[in-house]
């Protein structure tokens, strides 16, 4: 019995180690390579741990490019997209979950269809539409597009979280005289916090990494987001690999920071001890 538990433990530990290596090795390699000299980055004999150490790529990207402009633009667009997506998703998911109305299921599945719809097909129509209403070259254009793409799936995710909240809790609140608004704000949202944290990260990442629409809808350099700005400065015929690597590291930092900040909500149990 002890032997069996021991073997299970080893097996699980090994599995976790393998998964961690598979997932984290590319990131680890990108990070270590971003500190290598240009010669070492492209050398035929690959090194995992840098033989050389240099900050020149970071210096170049931070002080000789518009990195901070792109960073601020990305932060503005991503935070607003995330914020609006959360408001819309919470409202829509709760409505679809609780309100019984004609066509409820149709709306629910339609949302999924819009998520599955390839966005690239909408590229030119959206460009022409935004041109007509003078939204080209604005943050609003990108925020609308990001919300458009992030919200449908976020609604589905959040609806699944809402389903896990026992109805008894809501009913108890109604018996105590709470209104629907109070129930939503005081009970549902706090209990669905892990779900909201999940969709917040999901929406942020969707907006943070969005490239295609950002490159089409924005023309002015001062409004470009990080993926578009970095793609332009890396070059086509000649690639500055150090620039590329340090850019990738710096571009992922805000997402990691956000995850560290919101991640704690994942740890708490959803409705642990709520109903006895």
């Amino acid at each position: 019995m002890i032997k069996e538990t021991y073997l299970k433990y080893i097996f699980l530990t090994l599995s976790i180690i393998i998964i961690l290596i598979i997932f984290f090795f590319p990131f680890f390699w990108i990070i270590t390579s971003s500190f290598k000299s240009p010669e070492e980055i492209i050398a035929t004999s690959t090194t995992i741990i840098p033989r050389s150490f240099t900050l020149e790529h970071y210096e170049k990207i931070l002080f000789n490019s518009d990195f901070f402009t792109y960073l601020i633009n990305s932060l503005i667009v991503s935070f607003f997209s995330m914020f609006i997506s959360i408001i819309l998703s919470v409202s829509a998911a709760y409505g679809l979950h609780k309100l019984k109305f004609y066509g409820n299921k149709f709306v629910e599945y339609s949302l999924l269809v819009t998520y599955a719809f390839p966005g690239v097909i909408l590229l030119i129509p959206i460009y022409l539409l935004f041109a007509k209403i003078y939204l080209l070259n604005t943050y609003i254009a990108l925020i609308i597009v990001n919300v458009l793409f992030a919200t449908p799936f976020a609604v589905w995710m959040l609806k699944a979280f809402f389903k896990l909240i026992p109805t008894e809790i809501e009913e108890a609140a109604y018996i105590d005289g709470a209104s629907r608004i109070i129930v939503i704000f005081k009970i549902i949202i706090p209990l669905a916090a892990p779900g909201i944290a999940s969709i917040a990260i999901f929406c942020f990442i969707i907006s943070w990494t969005e490239y295609l629409f950002a490159s089409i809808l924005i023309s002015t350099d001062s409004l470009k987001t990080l993926p578009v700005g970095l793609s332009a400065i890396v070059g086509q015929y000649q690639i500055d690999w150090g620039f590329l690597l340090s850019g990738a590291v710096l571009a992922s930092l805000p997402v990691i920071l956000l995850f560290l900040f919101i991640g704690k909500y994942f740890v708490s149990g959803l409705t642990e001890g709520a109903v006895k």
Binding site: P38, G235, Q236, Q238, I239
Partner: protein, 423 residues
């Protein structure tokens, strides 16, 4: 009353004097030092021409094919758009790119365009863009590698095959050739086609003449050479090939230039860097040439004031004294396309150009014999955009390199695919 009238007229005149014509300049050279160089020239131009305000907006090559037509349809197109030859027919057909033959003739009389540069933009009775700079593929190699192996730089395909075979040893690939379905592969295979006499894609009536023995010979030699290339070459673009050469992983590569990467990442020994013309098929020395991409500026406005301002700005860029600085935004990559530009001291005085002068001279010489598929001898048809946009030359190459078909079958199938694409 007269005084009031006079006052109004003088106000109107002063407004007119203050009127500034805005010109937006879209280009795809987003590397920071290139943007800075262009900005310097724009600032100089704007301060010398207070009635014109030029602003640059950097775009990406990957999206410009979708964005530019969309911007035309939406009425938000820039006044000047930098492009390459296979992009121009799309915008010319839309009525967006304006004919500029008179303006080009004026510049030609002053600075003397190389004819090959004009060929890529002259068709349907008009010149559709102002050539700005050239890029042409050459073979890059290390002289010391050849000396060590006891071989001379190749001139013919036989020499090239021998060199690639001899130099493939000790983890080094004799030649780095891409096999990706991408523009770089289009360029490399076409440079072999040029050197076997298959530079014409079209007959004069617009039908395709791709499937011919010369094309098959080019695909055949490419396939033979590909065995000496790196195993990951099927995914290469320009950057990977350059990195392979700079890291001494590849003994030879076909590239527009390697100078800046070689200088910053590979020791920068100018005496050891060799550059030659792409080798030609045996017995076809008279066919020696390469693939070249003349980048140009399309004028996208019909507004007379904006058009005039755009021309003034482009004339400014083409002027010796400015031109060298303009194309040296990336020294050793962009080559002059005018006689005057080739002699411009601001071009030759750049420290990188001074250091790699002999290599730049060879590149420049090669570029004057450059052609581009679909833009040769006046046999230019707008349908070429469908062939180049889908990288069908590269796709045909993959039929033989990856799918294992014979070069002859691949070319036949490739022509069928092209025929469908241009229908």
């Amino acid at each position: 009353m007269n005084k009031i009238l006079l006052f109004i007229i003088s106000i109107l005149f002063s407004f007119n004097a203050l009127a500034v014509t805005n010109v937006t300049f879209w280009h795809m050279e987003g590397v920071p030092h290139r943007v800075d160089r262009i900005q310097t020239l724009i600032d100089e131009f704007n301060s010398a021409n207070p009635d014109i305000n030029v602003t640059q907006e950097v775009q990406n090559w990957g999206e410009i094919y979708a964005k530019a037509p969309a911007s035309v349809a939406a009425g938000t197109a820039p006044e000047i758009l930098v492009g390459i030859p296979d992009f121009t027919p799309i915008l010319a057909e839309m009525g967006a790119a304006q004919p500029v033959e008179d303006f080009v003739a004026e510049l030609d009389s002053k600075y003397g365009f190389y004819q090959k540069a004009l060929d890529q933009y002259t068709y349907n009775g008009h010149t559709w863009a102002v050539p700005l700079w050239n890029m042409a593929l050459s073979v890059w190699y290390r002289k010391s590698d050849f000396e060590k192996a006891g071989i001379s730089p190749p001139k013919t395909w036989s020499d090239l095959k021998k060199a690639a075979k001899t130099l493939t040893k000790d983890g080094v690939y004799g030649i780095g050739l891409p096999g990706n379905k991408q523009l770089y592969t289009d360029q490399t295979i076409y440079s072999f086609m040029v050197n076997s006499g298959a530079e014409e894609i079209y007959n004069s009536d617009g039908t395709l003449r791709f499937d011919n023995p010369e094309t098959v010979a080019a695909y055949d030699v490419y396939k033979e050479l590909y065995q000496y290339s790196a195993p990951d070459a099927a995914n290469w673009t320009w950057g990977e090939a350059e990195a392979c050469f700079a890291s001494k992983g590849c003994a030879m590569i076909l590239q527009f230039t390697v100078i800046s990467t070689y200088d910053s990442q590979a020791g920068g020994d100018a005496d050891d860097l060799g550059v030659i013309q792409i080798p030609y098929a045996n017995g076809k020395a008279h066919r020696a040439g390469t693939v070249s991409y003349v980048n140009s500026a399309m004028i996208m406005t019909e507004d007379p004031a904006k058009m005039e301002a755009s021309k003034k700005f482009l004339s400014y860029l083409m002027e010796p004294g400015n031109y060298g600085r303009f194309i040296n935004m990336e020294p050793g990559l962009f080559l002059p396309i005018t006689e005057a530009g080739s002699k411009d001291s601001t071009y030759w005085d750049d420290p990188v150009v001074v250091k790699y002068k002999s290599q730049v001279e060879t590149m420049l010489d090669n570029s004057t014999r450059g052609s581009l598929f679909g833009f040769t001898n006046g046999n230019t048809f707008t349908s070429i955009s469908s062939i180049s946009a889908q990288n069908l030359l590269a796709q045909t190459l993959q039929l033989t390199l990856i799918d294992g078909k014979s070069p002859s079958d691949a070319v036949t199938e490739g022509m069928e695919i092209m025929s469908e694409a241009i229908e």
